[in-house]
Structure formats: structure tokens, C-alpha cells
């Protein structure tokens, strides 16, 4: 896709040159035809003048020619010749410089009724034109015996060197004018195209001014010509999308920093307070344990952030294997028995004995562990959790529901936001960062599945996970 400017100018120049050539050729043709016919008319007039000099006297043709013509004169307009033909086309008389006798071919064929091109005896282009006439008879007596005069033709030829020079000069003038016009057109086009493309440069300068730190800038639509408006609109849309993406990232970084501040404050306070005065070993030990708790929280947070960042950057490799999903679910559930007991949450299972699936077992365990942990930790205290799984055509569906009386429907869309936390979860500030659901969703997407949340009834929250079955009917099935 070369330069628009070059293409525009080249196209316009080619068109201009073609039009000028065609115009020049046409003009040349018209001029030539006009001048030649004028020349021929002059010849014919001359022929008529000479014809008036021809007389027939008692059957004899007489002609009194001006002496210069008799000799084959060379007037300023060029050499001039004449020829008188009788009614049978025989040459009766002609300029002396022309070849004489029987062999002499007539200047103009007897049948010709228009001027023709002719080559002069000494070379050189000429044209010949003739007039038919009946010679004037001197027989005024009206003698009936004398024969009626027969029609004759008088031909005049004249060299066209002057005409050809004029035509050549005209042709070169046309070519010169065309060349000059083309050159001028090229300059004008350069300027016009340069000016015409100036909005593009204005937009380019505006785009150049857009910095990653200041994505609120938009390209001024008012300064864009109508043809570029869709492009500018799309650019502005892109900028808006970039801005919101950057804003999300910035908010995420701010949230991450914010989430880290609290455990850092805890660690610092634990250490500073421990050092304010000499303390017994038991108090120091308690302070160290508190410091460790803060450190573990920071570590968990950083690890979750890194995992999310890696997933979002697409740095993830899957190790698919065939395994029993039902068994994995129960295994993940085993780890939550203590939490469930502490919170008096009753967990019920409706999972078939065996659900073969082919997927990355470790990552799926992460997702299921996360979802189950969320359900047990966030279910109403003394409430319930229901875990169900079933085979669907080509897929396996897992649904985890829990009693969540405090959850409002408008909170559902925000659940997958990073650092979103249901209110109650802050009680358990040790293990929940508000990154579990975003992580789970990314992981499920990587695994080729889908995750969705809903309130099936007021106060009943359900997460549904649909995973492709994968190619389970392979070695493990045989």
C-alpha cells in the first residue's frame, strides 16, 4: 500500500497527460483538415481563374497563360503547376517544367473530383486540384456547324512546403502546451494533495500526543474531514477501550498495593510494639506468631496475584490426563470438613460414583477447591451447601449452591472483579483476598469450560461449572 499522495498524483498526472494527448491529437487533426481544405479551395479558385483563360476557337483550344506560369513559376507560396486535360483525360497542355508527351501521367486522374496529394517533379510534397469547365467559345456567330465545346478540366498543383511547415509548427506548439500544462498540473496537484492531506497530518500529530499516562485524550472529530470521520471515530473507540483497560489495570495495581498495606501495617505494628520494652519470651513469641500470620497473608496475596497475572498473560501450560472428577470433588471437599464443622454448615453431595473426564487435574483441583472453599466459608453460618455433578452430552457439569441470605442480585456481576469481597468474607481476612473467583474463571476459560453464577432463589447462591469431557474414551477407558 504505497503512499496515497504518490498514487493520487501519479493517477491524476496520467489522466491529465492522456486527456491532453487526446485533445492535442484531435486539435492537430482538425487544424490539418481545415488548413488542407482551405489550401485545396485556394487551388480550386486558382484553377477557375486559369480556366477562364481557356478559349475554344473553331475547335482549337487556346490558352493565354501568364508567362511565369507557363514556365512553371515559383511564387512565394511555393512552386505552382497547371495542366489542362480534355474530356478524355488526355493532357492537352501543362507547365513546361512538367514532363511532356504521351508518357506523362496526368496530375489528377480524370475521375477525381477532389484534391489529391502529389509529388512534384523535383521531389517535395504538393497538392493538386482541378475544375471542370466548358471552354469559352469565340464563335459568336453561333455557327451551327462548329461542334459544341467539350468539357475540359484544369488542374492546378502547388507545393505544400509552407503548409507543412505551418502544420509542423502547430503540432509542436500543441505538444509544448500539453507538456507545460502537464508540468503545471503536477505542481498544482502536489500542492492540492499536500493541502488535502493536511487533516491526516493534524490527526497524526494528535495521535502522537496520546501518552499511555494520559489516555483520556481523544482525537478532535471537528477537525477531521467527513471522509476520515469513521477512522477517527474508530480510533477514539480504541482509545476509550485502551483507557478503560488501563484504568482497570491501574485500579488493580492500586487495589493490590492497598491489600498489601494492611498486612504490612500488621507486621510492622507487631514488631514495633514487641520492641518497645523488654518482654518475656511468651509475649515475644506471640508477637512473632502474629508477624508470621501477616507474612503468610502477604505471601498468599502475592502468589494469588502472580497466578492471576500469569493466567492473564496467557503463560499457562496444561497437562491433560484422564481421571475421575467425582473422586476429585470428594477429595477437595475433605479439606473443608473442619471449616464446615466450625461454621456449622451442612454439606450435601449428589455426585455419581464415577465421572471420567480428561483435563488438567491440578488446575481443575484448584478451581474446585476454590469454589467449594468459597461456598463453605461464605454460606450462612449454620446453613447448607449442596454439591452436585452430572454428565451431559460431551460435557460434565458441576454445581455448587449455598445459603447466602445476605447476597443481593446486583452483587453477582461484580463477583468476578478482582478484590471484590462479599461483606462477610472479611471476617476470614486470613485466607480470602477477593481473587479466588477471578482466578477460577480464568482457569476454567483456559480449561475450555464455562463458569456462571446465579441466585436460584432469594438467598440461594449457585455457581455452575461446565467442562468439556475431553477425549476420555482413550487408553484410560480400555
Amino acid at each position: 500500500m504505497g503512499s496515497i499522495r504518490r498514487r493520487l498524483i501519479a493517477g491524476a498526472l496520467v489522466a491529465t497527460a492522456a486527456l491532453l494527448s487526446a485533445g492535442g491529437v484531435a486539435l492537430d487533426r482538425v487544424l490539418r483538415a481545415t488548413l488542407v481544405s482551405e489550401f485545396d479551395a485556394t487551388l480550386a479558385a486558382r484553377a477557375r481563374t486559369l480556366a477562364a483563360l481557356v478559349e475554344q476557337d473553331e475547335g482549337l483550344i487556346e490558352m493565354e497563360l501568364p508567362p511565369e506560369l507557363e514556365a512553371g513559376a515559383q511564387p512565394e507560396a511555393g512552386p505552382e503547376y497547371f495542366e489542362l486535360q480534355d474530356s478524355d483525360g488526355r493532357v492537352v497542355r501543362r507547365s513546361k517544367s512538367l514532363s511532356q508527351g504521351e508518357a506523362a501521367s496526368p496530375l489528377l486522374p480524370p475521375a477525381a473530383d477532389a484534391a489529391v496529394a502529389w509529388t512534384m517533379p523535383g521531389g517535395g510534397a504538393a497538392r493538386a486540384a482541378g475544375v471542370r469547365f466548358v471552354p469559352r467559345s469565340d464563335d459568336s456567330t453561333g455557327d451551327p456547324e462548329s461542334p459544341a465545346p467539350a468539357a475540359m478540366m484544369l488542374v492546378v498543383a502547388r507545393g505544400t512546403a509552407a503548409l507543412d511547415r505551418l502544420l509542423a509548427r502547430l503540432r509542436w506548439s500543441v505538444v509544448g502546451v500539453a507538456a507545460a500544462v502537464s508540468a503545471a498540473a503536477a505542481c498544482v496537484l502536489l500542492w492540492v494533495v499536500h493541502r488535502g492531506l493536511s487533516p491526516v497530518r493534524v490527526i497524526a500529530r494528535q495521535i502522537e500526543g496520546v501518552q499511555p499516562e494520559k489516555l483520556t485524550a481523544r482525537i478532535d472529530m471537528r477537525r477531521a474531514p467527513r471522509e476520515l470521520a469513521p477512522l477517527v471515530q474508530k480510533l477514539n473507540d480504541l482509545l476509550a477501550r485502551l483507557e478503560s483497560a488501563f484504568e482497570r489495570e491501574r485500579a488493580f495495581a492500586a487495589d493490590a498495593a492497598h491489600e498489601l498495606r494492611t498486612p504490612i501495617a500488621g507486621l510492622r505494628a507487631s514488631l514495633e510494639v514487641a520492641l518497645t520494652r523488654p518482654r518475656p519470651a511468651a509475649e515475644l513469641r506471640a508477637a512473632i506468631e502474629d508477624g508470621l500470620q501477616s507474612t503468610r497473608r502477604m505471601q498468599g496475596l502475592v502468589e494469588a496475584l502472580l497466578a492471576l497475572a500469569r493466567l492473564e498473560a496467557g503463560h499457562v501450560s496444561l497437562r491433560p490426563e484422564s481421571f475421575d472428577l467425582a473422586e476429585l470433588l470428594r477429595h477437595c471437599g475433605d479439606g473443608l470438613v473442619d471449616t464446615a464443622r466450625r461454621r456449622r454448615v451442612e454439606v450435601s453431595w449428589s455426585v455419581p460414583g464415577c465421572l471420567l473426564i480428561r483435563a488438567d487435574r491440578v488446575r481443575l483441583a484448584q478451581v474446585l477447591g476454590n469454589l467449594l472453599d468459597n461456598a463453605v466459608s461464605h454460606a450462612d453460618e449454620g446453613g447448607w451447601v449442596e454439591v452436585a455433578a452430572e454428565r451431559r452430552p460431551g460435557a460434565v457439569a458441576v454445581s455448587i449452591a449455598n445459603a447466602a441470605s445476605g447476597l443481593a442480585a446486583e452483587e453477582l456481576p461484580r463477583m468476578f472483579d478482582r478484590f471484590w469481597r462479599g461483606d462477610a468474607s472479611r471476617h476470614d481476612a486470613g485466607t480470602h483476598f477477593g481473587l479466588g473467583l477471578p482466578l477460577a474463571r480464568r482457569l476454567v476459560a483456559v480449561l475450555g469450560g464455562e463458569i456462571s453464577t446465579e441466585l436460584t432463589a432469594p438467598g440461594v447462591f449457585r455457581v455452575c461449572l461446565v467442562l468439556p469431557e475431553g477425549a476420555v474414551h482413550d487408553a484410560s477407558m480400555r
Binding site: H258, G266, L267, V273, G291
Partner: protein
Amino acid sequence: MRVLLIEDYEPLAKAVANGLRDEGYAVDVAADGESGWWYASSGSHDAVILDLMLPKLDGLSLLERIRARKLNVPVLILTARDTVDDRVRGLNCGADDYLVKPFAFAELLARVRAMVRRKYAARGPILSVADLEIDTAARLVTRAGRRIELTAREYALLEFLALRAGQVVSRTEIWEHVYDFHDSPASNVVDVYVGYLRRKLNQPGAPPLIRTRRGQGYVLGEPG
């Protein structure tokens, strides 16, 4: 002095509460907004340290409730939110001070001390009653130039009496401002501590500094 600490991150709440208790403050700790409000509405605190992101009832709403109830306890916001907007919003909601996490514990202490001082209209860190001088920043007590060693609880009691020097302070008030919910409400604990304090402050030949008003309470220094 009695401080209410409302913070949901347990290790931080524990460390700050311990540090404040070491400094002689009575500390009540709440881990969510609602229990924070329950403590605050008793109206017996000399300062509140308030986190903003709290479960159940967020910090700013709690602060608005405190101000709506016309409780004029000084409130220090302790939060990870550090933008100018956040600070302005916090102060406009009725906070007296704002400290961003993570912070130096010494700074938190100094700010709490300054807030308490303002509450009792004391200008400087040194409280003087007759020939008794209390440096509240260094927690040093001297009488006629002689240093007096006090336990944290005794110091807290003396500081409270000194901040209200010349006024009659009831046993209930002392109980409310010097003790927290950790302390068992023994009927005569205030009298016992006042007794300890008197013994330490007494100097032969000098007039007693703490007087008992039968049926009303105690007065430090000459009644105003």
C-alpha cells in the same frame, strides 16, 4: 484514657491494642462496624481509632453515625486508602486525624495523645497541678523535682485526674475512662488504685494532692 480500636485485621488490631495498653491506655477492640458502633455508643472513650474497610458497617458510615449521635469523641482514621480524596472525605465526615497504613506505631501513639489532649483542652504535653508535673509524652511524673515511678494503670489514673484537675471526678467516670471491657468490674478497684496513687504521690510535710469528696468522687489539686 480509654481508646476504642475498630480494625478487622486481627494481627494489626492485636499489636496496636497491646502497644496502647503498654502505654497505659484502656483499649476496647472491635472487629467489625456493628460491634464498633455498639462500643462507641457507650460514649465513654477518649479516642477512636477507625479502619475504613470494615465488615457489616463500613468505617465512614460508622463515623457518620457517631457524629449524628453528637458523640464528640476524637476519631483517627487508620486506613490503607491514601489518596487526597480519601483523606478529604474522611476528615469531612467528622474525623479528627488520618493515618495511612503502614504506619510507625510511635506516630500513632503521638497522634492519639494529641487528640486526647485537645479533647480535654490541654495545650501542651506537660500537665501541672501545684508542684506536680506530668509529661504526657514521656510519661514522666515528678513532684517538687523528685521523680515518681508509677505503673501503667496508676499513670493512666493520674493523667485522667490531672486532665480534669480541680474538678470532681466520679468513680464511674474513672471506671469508664481508665478501664476497658477486659477488666473485671470489681466494686472497689478504683478506690484501691486511688489509694496506691496517693501513697506514691504523698510527700512528708506537703499537703495531699488527691482529696476524696464523700459520695461524689475525687479531686486532684485545689477545687476550682
